[in-house]
Symmetry: D2
Subunit: 133 residues, 4 copies
């Protein structure tokens, strides 16, 4: 992602702030996890719903950028639809993003997140726009 | 929001991490803003889409909690649909959440975010679940 | 909408099937209504949720086509997010679509639907793709 | 679905109008198809996006009703998020709904639709509300 290497190499961007650990990233599949800590919680002690949305967005945008950055394009999230099936309160959030559509100007990814027991807790669909910088 | 006062009073939760400043919060209307900084950016220099989703979620959940916490219920985001109309790169993200539906177990909020020029940049709809703790 | 005049002038398309009456249609605002009848109901007697989604889609796509058809482009729905606040059981569904974003390849519309009493019952966001035929 | 048997047995409801053929329906999985015809098209000749939303809604609501109707509850769609990956122009729309979450008051289903070649064309997420009639 040469478009903006700073945020990826020195960890100053949002993904570093909430703690995304990327374990795999291609233009078809991206995986990562986030360790739950107090800073990611909302009232009631469960993970703040915004964290799930951020993870989904990150994997979808990075997976798209894995391909389009090479031709000088920028990947920017257009629509993010995140549904929480079971709130997560502790452990890690394990996320897997699978590309479902690859168009010229829009890509669509499905992202699923599970807790440490493997229970599916969050389902997202992220539409990514491919643009000129 | 007596259910989990810690994250609201001492600023240790996710809203404090990304920097939400709440300026108004009732069960009909919630407003706040976030100052853009490098930590909130993604590749390309624009604000990470996850930040918008987090703001929308926060206002909707806090607005719901403003009412239901008093009767011992917990407000948890169920579905968050965030669409980016224009990416924001600098200044502040000004967000306004308006309650559209108040049911016994689900509330629905519309959230709009503008940049410093007043341009509508993000539109969200957040469905909040009202539960027993 | 010269791209496919047949479905608009002779009423053979889907909008004619479920009974959309278009009262206004520009590239900024589109309005219409549908009279509830048994054919539009689901179990329990309320209007089938698919009807609301169809109305939202129709107004957003037609509003976009009102502009892009003139330059030989086709408007096709990309993402439709419809939330039901109060199910409608009788009377008319009154819908208003307002354009929120006009990009080169994607437009975004917000659509609201009310019942005969003026109560807001449905909120939709539709992202329309502008393509070559 | 004894709550409102009329619309299911004599084919007067919306699903009959657009032509849903249900091939399987349990509280975990529901399948069906719709044959494309002129009445389901929009401008440009492709299937009207509202048809996909209706199919997704129908399978999710019927799958939920398959369980909750037995205890006198009504299943009503709350949120429907439908994304079109590839518009369909002919043949059949083959839909499969898989339950992802079963709560006391809300169920969540993922619905995928393919064309006759087996290409994934539409992805939906439908949140169904379980209510007293």
């Amino acid at each position: 992602m040469g478009v903006h290497p700073a945020s990826d190499t020195d960890g100053t961007g949002f993904d570093a702030l909430y703690g995304l650990e990327l374990s795999e990233c291609s233009d078809e599949l991206a995986r990562g996890f986030v360790a739950v800590r107090d800073e990611l919680r909302q009232s009631g002690g469960v993970v703040h719903g915004g964290v799930y949305g951020a993870i989904a967005e990150a994997l979808a945008v990075r997976g798209t950028a894995a391909s389009v950055a090479a031709v000088g394009k920028l990947a920017v999230g257009l629509a993010n639809q995140t549904t929480v099936l079971h709130p997560i309160a502790q452990g890690k959030i394990h996320a897997t993003a699978t590309r479902r559509h690859r168009g010229r100007t829009t890509w669509v990814w499905e992202v699923e997140m599970a807790d440490d027991r493997g229970l599916l807790c969050v389902a997202s669909r992220v539409t990514v726009s491919v643009r000129d910088p």
